[in-house]
Amino acid sequence: MLSELATTIMLGSGRLQSLPAHEGALGEALAKTSRLPTEQQVLAAASLLATSERAGMLPQVVAEEEVLPPCPADASPTCSVLAADVLRQILGTRPALLPEWLELAAAAGQVAPPSCLEELLEWGRRETASQAAIRTVCGMTGSWLGRLNPRWEYAIASPSDDDKQLWEEGRQPEREGLLRRLRQEDPGRARELIVEAFAVEHADCRTAFIATLETGLAAADEAFLDRALDDRSTRVTAIAASLLSRLPDSALSQRMAERLRSHLKVERKFIKGRRLVVEPPDEPFDAEALRDGLQEQGKGSGKLGKVAHRLVELVRLTPLGVWDAFDLGGPASVLMAIEGTDWRDALVQGLAVRAVAEADADWCLALLAIAPGKAVIDRRALRRALPREQREAQLASDLAEGRGKAARELLLEVLESQEEPAGPRLSRQLVASAQQAISQHKDDWQLRNVLPILGLLIAPECLSQALAGWPADHTHWTYYASQYAEFDLTIRLRTRIYEGFQHE
């Protein structure tokens, strides 16, 4: 009504012939305005119509299909009020703690409450790495929202039996994930899929797929890997060679062992016992050696000479088992024997790579115990290759024994490279070392910057003691106080996360 009237007077109230007729009280009231001059009549009618329109609002009719379907109930219980509260706080201020929350919720088989879902799903939209974990804790409601809102499509739980579809239509990282999973359940089937893909896929894809064979690597993979040595992509052949060398009985491993043995001899001395003698590989690698993954030194790679580099290559691709054949003893003794040769750095450098590839704890520990000299040794990689308990015990005792600068360096290294909470012993040692370092180093910005990270690395069972013993009255303290507060808040929030999942 109001809009009809408005349309009529768009070009002036002179256009108005008469007001539209209306029944009932409103009609009568409108009729009374006819005595007025036109513009007054229009205004009077507008008053009446505007008021009656507002008073006469009617409910809208909705088609059943427009109403959002009810979301099916979750089989999993909702997390506690405290856990939800902490979640909101984490999303607001400390997203670094989100993975831990998600993991605990998933482990407890609990889902996030509806009031947190919008923020959680928006977070996952930006942080694709956390999408799988978020999908789990958003449960049925997450799936339901994902179907309604295309931005949250990732939250739709995919039933596990459509691997075929995932393989055929998924993106490369998803297909890779599928292969890794399949390698645990049915390695042969996964290999078949890779063989199939190798015929058609580009080099990036082939590289990613062949690398998944590392999971569940077995003799059955040898034939395929051997064919892959002839692949067009050097990245693919390098991975194939490395994987083949991890199969001690593979033809490649045998050939490698043969090659290495031809350059190493053990001489028996009457007085000094056994001595290792190196016959340097002066000749360039032949075609067969190159096919097996051995590489000549590229331009500007490393400080070693050409010949030393060949030695590194040979050691790098030969199973560690070959060293037993020399009958020199365990890793430490072998390393001792190597000290006496002219090619010590090359051998040590090759062994350090090999020990990481085989994740051989004894060799890693032995290599960590020696001075690197000129050899390039990736100590972090060696530590990572150790089983967790052994690694942490090693670090904890190194930290405990370290003094001054060396202890600080090691502390920084650990804080920067550790990716998940440490075990109790290392946690306690990290706190103690940090406290000690603070009282020893004035204005150390690196140390100050890693304090917040420390909060993320403390074992759950050590959280309650982590705030004790800090040198808050030390003269150096003010410099560290602000970053310590971050550490402190992280510890408190994490404590609350665990409290939130403690009961039930």
């Binding site: 109001l2 007077i9 109230s13 008021t51 959002l68 509260d85 201020t93 808040l489 408190r492």
Partner: protein
């Protein structure tokens, strides 16, 4: 000693979400060399960027905040953090201490000011007790407004005579002069309607109807003003507030309806209008579901006096402004001991809610919006638009300015929810929702700057 406020209540006291986030960064007691409190107040020292820590104190009665930091936000992040730590980490506080001097002085000065204010109000109500002088003043203002209205009427008729197309082509001057004239004639409320008419020109396909609607309501005020003597005192009061001739608090306290009882704070909407910020706080009586609106206007750096958090409840006396459809109220003394609310009192259907709006419009034709709480609502979607559907399938549009429809969808995913909000011709603007999970405030913030 139980925490005086829960985390949710403290969060609701924050002036905006960035303050909440800033406060959460201060929750570590390590940032606080001092944390103490008693039944009356809590206080602390918070380490900031400066040399000396900030002195933060909260009077728990209202609560009222004070901090030595330079922030213009109120309450500032330090005050919010202090109360949150009190809520979450009681052990960090040394409780039951006597107030140190810097807290004592502030508390005492607050008490004195409150007493002085009460005394002043009492004194004023006595001066107003001179009814003759008051009536004279009122009559004078009424006449001034009437002069303005006569001009306004001629101007409106001119606009209508020339047609809406011409109206859209009018010079800016014509609008701003008319608005200024109405302000001069002490009818700033009507000046707002001139601005609103100007504001809707050419905005959206239905602007002519909206424009004419505003003109119609303004015309209604003009005509009603001519019949001043024949109006009931309630309608006179409504007309006064429509024109922007608001009653002062003393008048309200004298003549308004007093309503003691239990009140729940259901929702809050904050509109930044440029020179000042308008905050609407909605209350509902626990006993009979009656609504009340507390309005506060805060200019620039001035601080919000009242901090009532949605989701809380208190016992106290409200005084309604006189009106044919009473809604706005004042709270003569600040509420004590707020507690979490139990549950909102919704009506069952959309029709009942619309009936409430219709009744309010019938009583006071200038009613713009009406608070409603409706039970068991579900969401529906029509293209990009959202609708709220009651148990019987009747629905209302969700106000297009509502910022978090997906949040509401998640809350109502499994079970229908009770929704409290402001109902107007543009639909329902939700301000709170009650689901089986609990009560959730959906604070609304908007910026509306007039163009003239």
């Amino acid at each position: 000693m139980a925490a005086p406020y829960t985390r949710e209540q403290v969060v609701a006291m924050a002036p905006d979400s960035s303050s909440v986030k800033a406060a959460q960064k201060l929750l570590s007691p390590a940032k606080w060399p001092l944390l103490a409190g008693n039944e009356e107040a809590v206080w602390g020292h918070c380490r900031g960027s400066g040399r000396n820590p900030y002195e933060v104190q909260v009077d728990l009665a209202e609560p009222a905040f004070k901090c030595s930091c330079p922030s213009r936000k109120f309450p500032c992040k330090h005050g919010l953090a202090l109360l949150q730590i009190r809520a979450d980490q009681e052990a960090a506080f040394s409780l039951g201490e006597a107030c140190p001097d810097w807290v004592r002085e502030w508390l005492d000065s607050r008490r004195q000011r409150a007493e002085a204010k009460a005394a002043k109000a009492a004194a004023r109500s006595e001066t107003i007790a001179d009814p003759e002088a008051q009536a004279k003043r009122r009559e004078k203002r009424r006449q001034t407004i009437e002069t303005g209205l006569d001009e306004f009427e001629l101007w409106l008729q001119d606009v209508i005579r020339q047609g809406l197309v011409k109206a859209a082509e009018r010079q800016m001057d014509s609008w701003s002069t008319m608005a200024a004239r109405l302000v001069d004639c002490q009818a700033p409320g009507l000046a707002g309607y001139v601005r609103a008419m100007h504001g809707c020109l050419g905005q959206g396909a239905d602007w002519p109807a909206r424009f004419l609607g505003i003109a119609g309501r303004a015309n209604l005020a003009i005509q009603a003003f001519r019949r001043w003597e024949s109006l009931t005192p309630e309608l006179q009061a409504d007309l006064r507030s429509f024109c922007g001739w608001s009653l002062d608090q003393v008048e309200v306290l004298q003549s308004g309806e007093r309503c003691p009882g239990d009140w729940q704070v259901l929702g809050q909407a904050t509109v930044d209008r440029g020179q000042f910020e308008e905050q609407r706080t909605w209350l509902q009586a626990t006993a009979d579901g009656r609504f009340a609106l507390l309005l506060s206007f805060v200019a620039g750096s001035q601080t919000q006096v009242l901090t009532l958090a949605p989701g809380s409840a208190f016992t106290g006396e409200l005084v309604y402004y006189p009106s044919a459809a009473p809604e706005r109220a004042i709270l003569p003394s600040p509420p004590e001991n707020p507690r979490p609310l139990e549950t909102m009192r919704p009506v069952a259907t959309v029709s009942e809610a619309l009936g409430q709006l219709a009744e309010a419009v019938a009583r006071c034709p200038w009613t713009k919006r009406r608070p409603v709480a409706i039970d068991a609502m579900r969401l529906a979607r029509r293209g990009e638009r959202w609708l709220l559907v009651d148990r019987g399938g009747a629905s209302l549009s969700l106000h297009s300015a509502f910022q978090r429809p997906w949040h509401l969808a998640a809350l109502a995913a499994r079970d229908p929810v009770a929704i409290f909000g402001e109902l107007s011709a543009d639909g329902l603007l939700p301000l709170a929702c009650q689901s089986p999970e609990g009560f959730f405030s959906l604070p609304f913030t908007a910026t509306e700057h007039a163009r003239i």
